[in-house]
Symmetry: C2
Subunit: 315 residues, 2 copies
């Protein structure tokens, strides 16, 4: 029996994790995007979007989910077509891997309907191509953990080499999303093109420690190594109240705090759910107090599963 229709969930991700700009990302449990895909008799893609956000591209040419689905249909040429609905639940420009979630959800949904589905890892090139279209640069540190779950190290982009970091579950992540949008391309434009060697050395000490802390479930080490001396100082300027919010997180017991993706969302590290919740409340309060911004707060352990099929209808 082949599935006739599927509903897929793809989770948010924290990329550019601390010092790991472009190389380390993790998946969380919430928020995320959903895609509904059904076989249709006519070949090709019929695409629509359900969302409350006015800025989400509606047409198949400019929406990442549709682009990914079309790429897969062109590649595998099934005898049927697909009718796809993207339930765009995640805010765009949030720093939470919103476009990666749409790309991955679309790839997994089309894949589930194919006569011979690929392995998850083999969906990576399709989802990355969607990301490239959306942002001009393929953010594998969003796409890979969204697809595969857990924490992923992008060891190399050329050739692409994704190394899963085994993650112990003792670390709890707080994400606070203040209600402003930052364009990834703008956040990338302001980065320096060169860095002092001594600063790079400082950064790679933290990258080693962050990797080790994730693999050993050491929340304190992960927190300490979340220090980012290269990208955070530049991008902090794009987030109103960044320093006050970060300080409020640390005062409330967070072991580390930095920018998620290219912002404006910020993440913090705690060793218990209770602590992560009070850290999140304090950060949201500070965003409101200092910058007059409302926020959403999410508390989650690492999502080890990544994209998943919520529901299947058989033929």
């Amino acid at each position: 029996m082949k599935p006739r229709a599927v509903r897929v969930f793809a989770p948010a991700t924290i990329s550019n994790l601390g010092p790991g700009f472009d190389v380390i990302g993790i998946a969380v449990h919430t928020p995320g995007d959903e895609v509904l895909a059904k076989r249709q008799t006519a070949t090709g893609l019929t695409f629509s979007v359900e969302t409350l956000q006015p800025d989400v591209p509606r047409n198949a040419e400019s929406n990442v989910a549709a682009r990914v689905a079309s790429l897969m249909l062109e590649e595998f040429k099934p005898s049927f077509g697909i009718r796809m609905v993207l339930h765009k639940l995640m805010p765009i420009g949030s720093g939470l891997g919103s476009s990666a979630a749409s790309s991955v959800a679309a790839a997994a949904a089309v894949n589930a309907l194919l006569p011979t589905p690929l392995k998850k890892i083999d969906l990576l090139p399709f989802a990355l191509e969607g990301e490239r279209i959306a942002s001009g640069a393929p953010h594998a540190d969003n796409v890979a953990p969204c697809l595969l779950g857990g924490a992923c190290l992008i060891r190399s982009y050329d050739p692409l080499d994704v190394v899963p970091i085994p993650v112990e579950g003792s670390i709890v992540w707080t994400i606070v999303h203040p209600h402003i949008a930052i364009r990834t391309q703008e956040a990338r434009r302001i980065l320096p093109t060169t860095v002092p060697l001594s600063t790079a050395v400082h950064q790679w000490g933290n990258i080693g420690g962050l990797t080790l802390g994730l693999a050993t479930g050491n929340a304190r080490l992960v927190g300490t190594c979340t220090e980012d001396v290269i990208v955070e100082p530049v991008r902090a300027k794009l987030i109103p109240g960044f320093h006050e919010v970060k300080n409020s997180a640390l005062r409330a017991g967070a072991m580390g705090c930095s920018i998620s993706g290219s912002g404006p969302s910020m993440f913090a590290i705690a060793s218990s759910t209770a602590s992560a919740r009070s850290v999140g409340a304090e950060m949201a309060r500070t965003f409101s107090h200092i910058a007059n911004l409302t926020s959403d707060v999410y508390v989650s352990r690492v999502n080890r599963r990544g994209v998943r099929i919520l529901k299947t209808k058989q033929e």
Copy 2:
């Protein structure tokens, strides 16, 4: 009963491990330096050196072991003095942490004679100060693994933060020391002061992978991540035949190969002792063939113990 005399062994170290310039080092089992220390009635230090190497500083003002011993005597002011003999077995300017081994051996020897010895980790500042005198820069990625054993990540130099990386024993290290000397200060002078951000990102992918590979005993990952796109390309020029030797190591089955410390020694990674031996033989043959250099070859797993007391005489 207090020890009256001790003989201490401090091992060689591979610092600047692959991409981990200034931040990752490991201890091996051989070669190493030895220090003999005895209590003497007169306070202060009586110092001598036994070595076949003409370039080793003989006097207490310029020898790192004597400097470290003097620092400790000044700090702890025991009621006795110390007569110390440094058996300088390691070649200087080899890239194997020779000065770190002398510093650490001296610190551990004096410590063993003190009425209330310190913990190993508390000897780090004394041994580092010796390194600072010897090379102008304290190489904690040599000193820390030499002292503590295993693999060490220097997460931060200011403040100094040493993170032990738990090491699985399945990786075997080949070291080949060709018989030329490179001055650390010269090798440091030729480094770039800035690096492109994109190159730094490539380097930190490898640093994350190297750390993970060490912690999980994954020889293939460690080998792949030994790639160093910043320091190796510059320092390779100081080692005659570097590229040919590296290629010969890889052809002989090494999973990775790079410069140990600031050279001229090179290290390679294998997953068995037999493989590591044939890699070493091939590297030495290439040094001889291409650059007319004789070499010493060492094959070792990680030394998890670090500096150790070989022998104690009680009062």
